[in-house]
């Protein structure tokens, strides 16, 4: 909607809360990139930086929720304005979770640097994190541009993330069966992979909010599910 409100303060409030979403999104993108860089380069210092930076993300979520509740109380938003408020609250929640997963990746990395590196998986984990970060960037762009097509595209791309996770799951399983000494690092790496896959789900939820914001209803089709490890008996460890 290009028209502005008769009460300009309402526009300022809505712009402010959405600007905070963008700022929060930027910080979360950075957290994903840096946590994944720290993992790749076995950088303990950078890991610590990511863990500290999560505080700012959490604080922004608080700010957004406070602004949203104030707008609800004082402006009684309806129609598209109401959907903006509902969507910023949910998106802030999704971003906060993604930030937490990035922080967790950094935390596990401080343990992993103490151990012998497991070959091969790091590059795949890096690619996966990079793809999630790009999806998040596009989801935030779709939000600002109110671009439903781009949002639907992100829903599709989550399938790739799920497939990357499936491949890593198999790889870690193989490593662990080969040598029990791999179990501890592979457990950590598996959690990192799983958390990155969950980040993708949260990005997908953000894209769904964009669709809701613009159209007034959630996407009809159940979104594509590519993570089959919980259903496929072949995927589980031998008895």
């Amino acid at each position: 909607m290009v028209d502005s409100h008769i009460v300009t303060g309402f526009d300022r409030d809505l712009e402010s809360v959405q600007a905070h979403i963008m700022k929060m999104g930027g910080l979360v993108e950075e957290a994903i990139l840096e946590a994944s860089k720290a993992l790749r380069e076995r950088d303990e210092e950078l890991s610590e930086k990511v863990r500290q930076a999560d505080k700012a993300i959490d604080a922004l979520e608080e700010v957004i929720n406070e602004e949203a509740s104030r707008i609800i109380a004082l402006r009684a938003p309806t129609a598209v304005d109401l959907r903006v408020i509902l969507s910023v609250m949910k998106i802030a929640g999704n971003l906060e979770r993604i930030g937490d997963y990035a922080k967790n990746m950094a935390k596990r990395n401080t343990v992993l640097v103490q151990m012998t590196p497991v070959e091969g998986s790091r590059a795949a984990l890096g690619r996966m994190a990079r793809e999630v970060q790009l999806m998040l960037k596009d989801a935030l762009d779709a939000y600002i541009q109110r671009d439903v097509e781009l949002a639907y595209e992100i829903l599709e791309r989550d399938r790739d993330i799920d497939q990357m996770y499936n491949a890593l799951f198999r790889e870690f399983l193989t490593f662990m069966m080969e040598d029990p000494r791999h179990i501890t690092p592979c457990m950590h790496l598996h959690f990192i992979a799983k958390n990155t896959e969950r980040m993708g789900d949260h990005v997908t939820a953000i894209a769904e909010q964009v669709i809701y914001l613009v159209t007034g209803s959630m996407p009809d089709d159940a979104r594509p599910k590519g993570d089959t490890t919980s259903r496929d008996p072949e995927m589980s460890a031998p008895q």
């Binding site: 909607m1 028209d3 502005s4 409100h5 008769i6 009460v7 309806t78 129609a79 109401l82 959907r83």
Partner: protein, 264 residues
Amino acid sequence: MYDATLENDVSQKDIKIAADNVQVHYGDTHAIKDVSVQIQDKTVTAFIGPSGCGKSTFLRTLNRMNDTIDICRVTGQILLDGEDIYDSKVDPVQLRAKVGMVFQKPNPFPKSIYDNIAYGPRIHGLANSKADLDVIVEKSLRRGAIWNEVKDRLHEPGTGLSGGQQQRLCIARAVATEPEVLLMDEPCSALDPIATAQVEELIDELRTNYSVVIVTHSMQQAARVSQKTAFFHLGNLVEYDDTSKIFTNPTDERTESYITGRIG
């Protein structure tokens, strides 16, 4: 499975009033342009829209209040329970007993509280005895949610009550003739928030028995009390749908602009 929309689901209700291609002219001014709408029984329908959009004019066509304005001309058809209310055989006075009205400003008669209520039933011959009339007065005041406040002062003047009490007295007066439809033209605009809440609660109770049509400038009031909302703009009925739909995801851009407070 719990369905949150069930309480307000009015899709199964009967049609009480069917307006078809209604046009209203005041002299040369075309005030209502080809409005067709079906108002459901036992439902609160809200008419919203900017000043001069025709919502009050349209409301007043529903009980022929516009007949009192010489230059006003109404065409099209309005059926109440399938009968044309503009038919020459219809007595407007009888019609208005069936389709009651409550106005913006409380306007009690300069009579006692008792007589304010008893007046309508008396002239319409609804009571055969003083005892009958007492019953009607008490029942109406109870429906108007004001009985407890006035039961000990029934013979004091109605004009001595507070604004909110006067408005509830007027609602009680309107229901005394057992109408089937209650029209309300901004019934709360002269009331404070507490009195407004009492009237809104009353409207919600009234819809178990009546079809209520309310014109309001307060969109939040429309959202709170109605199940159906009609948005009028420049004499056109722009959108008519479930209230929850109108306030969360309206179809027409003009409705969206209006309810979100944008320049339409």
